[in-house]
Symmetry: C2
Subunit: 192 residues, 2 copies
DNA sequence: CCAAGAGGGAACTGATCGGTACCATCAGGA
DNA sequence: TCCTGATGGTACCGATCAGTTCCCTCTTGG
């Protein structure tokens, strides 16, 4: 059935890259863990770098779909809805396999800021910021764009902190900061 | 003169590791750029991993000495002095060779949280948090410990954001959040 | 029933990895 | 003066890297 091998390759690569790092995982590992032959690999991808980019694209889609889901099921009020990001992060941090943000990790590992992988990673963050911006605008926050970037910065700070500490606590800390931020931010029309 | 070669090795390794990443830099590069012979390298260090740890230790000392300096020359009032961290970060972000935090980068590159390099990196952050904690306590903030961790999280968030965006702007954004945080935090005795 | 395409296995390339061994050189102290 | 210790250069080791090539098997559709 057509692209079965390709799917297995991407699945194995995504997991291994996230768990051990891109440079740390050789083609051999991806092949053995996916059960795909060496020739088939290069039939689907010109090089390892192309796998990296494709894995990141997949992960970008998955991650934002997951975030949308967390936002959709959140019981928070419109003005508190942006905090759903931190509720979601708290879940992720508690996962056993959590090892930070794949996109941040990629940018760190791929030193070259002009590399395709770096671009995909940067674009992902901008898309997440766009989601936050929409949420904040709908929540009535006047300076929603600036606020969105501040919340994203907080989220990234929470992620690297969680990696360092090895506990989910950072999500709570970041959320507390975010709450202060939202509480002191100006909102359209009436005041409480 | 005794340990001349060792010093040159550490200098070259520190620069190369930061600019290109630890895994990306081979022994060969460190040798050629430092002008040290291969045998001399292994006379001073049992393995590459030991160089990584020693480089991080050096950088920890240098970085905190630099932070202390920025704090010392800051003209901010005691209650605003913790913001000197973000003033300092703004300077670093503007540097051409800026490529994030060497300790965050090391933790990302070194997936294993039990590795010596990971530990040194984690300890560094705790020491920085201790500095912030002292500053906040001296500034009269009641919940200085919690506040210190929030500021550190903000700082790390600013760093990864600056790497992603390639501009120093994130420092300003993080500082704005920090200002809100300090302004709304409770301080001992009188209110303004 | 057979052809075609997709896939897996393995041998092989040249380059580079971290690390070892050996050797010639050059300094300084006895 | 000679000896010792630190050094730089180079050849080498086995392992692994990304990538190429060839061959055989299996499935599937005509």
């Amino acid at each position: 059935m057509a692209t079965n091998a390709k799917e297995r390759l991407l699945g194995a690569a995504e997991r291994l890259f996230y768990e051990e790092g891109i440079r740390a995982v050789g083609i051999e590992r991806i092949l053995s863990e996916s059960g795909v032959g060496r020739a088939s690999f290069y039939r689907h991808f010109p090089s390892k770098d192309d796998v990296v980019v494709e894995v990141l694209r997949r992960r970008d889609g998955m991650w934002r779909a997951w975030l949308d889901g967390r936002i959709a099921v959140s019981e928070r009020s419109p003005e508190e809805l942006p905090l759903a990001l931190f509720d979601g992060l708290a879940e992720r941090f508690a996962a056993a396999e959590f090892r930070g943000c794949a996109f941040i990790n990629t940018m760190v590992e791929t030193a070259d800021p002009d590399s395709p992988a770096h671009h995909v990673a940067a674009e992902h963050k901008e898309k997440v910021i766009a989601v936050l911006d929409r949420l904040l605008a709908e929540g009535g926050y006047l300076d929603h764009e600036s606020l969105a970037r501040q919340l994203a910065l907080l989220g990234d700070g929470a992620i690297v902190t969680a990696v360092r500490e090895g506990t989910p606590e950072a999500a709570v800390r970041a959320r507390a900061v975010a709450e202060v931020l939202l509480r002191t931010a100006e909102r359209e029309s009436v005041r409480a």
